[in-house]
Point group: C2
Chain length 347, copies 2
């Protein structure tokens, strides 16, 4: 049981100052009073007014994102969030959620009944049930890679996808590539939409041709490649930008299965800079997201919201990491022959 004396000792003030703070006396400053209250709550002080008493808790919800091992996308985001939260004495529960879970549990109700002061949501899609509820939530909430308009209790944290894709297109353009295909990730994702628009913008900025056969949406997994790479090759692509590194790994495999060399015949660019990027053959040129920092920014934003500072958006810069999967465009390659031989495998 925490006593007033202990709070006073912790703050380095007198017992009477703490008592004034707890009882709303007017002869100490509002700031100090707030500090006394904050500290009392934080120390688990219990009075008639402070029955809450439980440890302060944040909840990190994960949907549709791998995070359990260091080679997975969500791992470092969660690590960074936890590290920063720990410094401020928050405990963090990580809870995987499904669409069914979201239908069964209302977000605000779930947060309140479990005593969470704020939430960090990663991996959610635009059509998820909770995304609709967040338009009106009053719970401090930070979304990784999703944005809610006008709600002062919700903040968006992410990497600038526009600059990310732009740097990838610029890099390939400088290497002489003109026919640049784009194998994007899943539909119904804000990130996917931003990267798609960024691709169009960057291609237009260089007056490069944008063709239907050079753009496809798959999923954020390697398996997406086999359905779309044949079309890209048939359309004459000399370079393929991928929605993430997993897709890129699949693209490399598909190209190599068809006897094409990376990067001599086809350049490939990923997105994220997962650990896998360095182990691919060849090592992957990719757009790096600083995932640990994203997690830390997520906590910083949530902490701001909890303290009634309405941060709306925090973006990190992407960084192009140039490895061996991209190279200057070769003398004309036999794209038309290559395409012919694949035509019967196209979907």
């Amino acid at each position: 049981m925490v006593t007033i004396k202990e709070i006073a000792d912790r703050l380095g003030v007198s017992v009477s100052t703490v008592s004034k703070g707890l009882n709303g006396a007017s002869d100490i400053s509002e700031d100090l009073r707030q500090l006394v209250l904050d500290t009392a709550v934080e120390m688990g002080y219990r009075s008639k007014k402070f029955k809450k008493g439980e440890h302060k808790k944040l909840c990190l919800f994960v949907e549709n994102m791998d995070y359990e091992t260091p080679n997975q996308f969500g791992y470092d985001i969660i690590l960074g969030f936890r590290q920063s939260a720990f410094r401020d004495n928050w405990s963090v529960n990580v809870i995987p959620v499904t669409p069914a879970f979201q239908r069964d549990e209302k977000y605000d109700t779930y947060m309140l009944k479990n005593g969470y002061s704020g939430g960090f949501l990663v991996g959610f899609a635009l059509h998820d049930e909770w995304m609709q509820q967040l338009i009106y939530t009053s719970i401090p909430t930070v979304l990784f890679d999703n944005y809610i308009r006008r709600n002062p209790h919700v903040c968006y944290v992410g990497t600038d996808n526009f600059e990310g894709i732009e740097t990838a297109v610029d890099h390939l353009y400088q290497l002489g590539h003109k026919k640049i295909a784009f194998l994007n990730g899943s539909l119904y994702s804000m990130v996917t939409e931003q990267r798609y628009q960024a691709y169009l913008d960057a291609m237009n900025a260089h007056n490069l041709p944008i063709e239907d056969g050079m753009i496809a949406h798959g999923y954020y997994v390697a398996d997406s490649a086999k359905y779309h790479v044949p079309n890209f090759l048939a359309a004459g692509a000399t370079a393929i930008i991928c929605g993430n590194d997993l897709i890129a790994s699949g693209v490399i495999t598909e190209c190599q299965l068809r006897g094409l060399r990376i990067p001599q015949d086809i350049s490939v660019v990923g997105f994220d800079d997962l650990p896998i990027s360095t182990f691919l053959d060849p090592p992957l040129t990719t757009v790096r997201q600083e995932r640990t920092e994203l997690g830390k920014c997520g906590y910083a934003a949530l902490n701001s919201l909890i303290h009634h500072v309405s941060v709306s958006k925090t973006l990190l810069r992407p960084q192009l990491i140039t490895r061996d999967s991209t190279a200057p465009i070769a003398a004309p390659i036999k794209t038309s022959n290559a395409a012919d031989s694949f035509s019967d495998t196209q979907l």
Copy 2:
């Protein structure tokens, strides 16, 4: 010269507590120490250790923005920045700069020769010399209300102007206004451009008419109003959104000089929520920018850049503060008569 005793009195704590806070003693809480530091900065306390010179330093450059008294726009931004920087033992020099200064001194050179670890720039225009140099700077630099693409050493901090103007238009629309004029601030400003686009977007979203005679660019001063209000009235405006509160104060005066009542005949909305907003007659409905928080976010971003975390953009939510300068649209007012009588005063 502010004394430790004065800081202690204001906070309602002992002199020894303040002394401990200023000197980093370990027997008071971190939170209380930070409160002592914040208050010391706010009161203008100068520590002896900061006077010695050999200290880590940041520079805050101000161009074309008033900041010397609490009723001016830059005051709280600078205060918030100083408060946050002081907690981390940075000293901050505030340096007003002119276009001539920027031509004479290269930004990077100036920063290096003066030993600054980072810069926070407020009030700069798009055509300023330093804005060009910042495209390539390697000095950690945060811009209030300006954005530099692709440079990982530069971050943009500001309020979301799109949401700000959108909330103003929505508010007037809900009050029944359809002919909403927009008196924007100075050209050659990113903020001005964003607010202009936001006005167009929001008007289009409500299918409201956008007419040339209903949009004007002036300067961020009250005097702008007299050149443009007559045109707006001639065009039949029933509401006027202003680029900032100073413009709005001028708009109110101009309308009242012409015998129009605010808000019965014309509604007026400002931007910023400067202290003046509450003292106007009538008190001004306006879009609030949290200026102290903007300064604190500016420091947080600069601190991130200095530690090699490439924050690209941090935005705060604006908040519409509804006071007495806006009201439901009245029965048809005699705008055409009013316009006729002003026509010879138009520029």
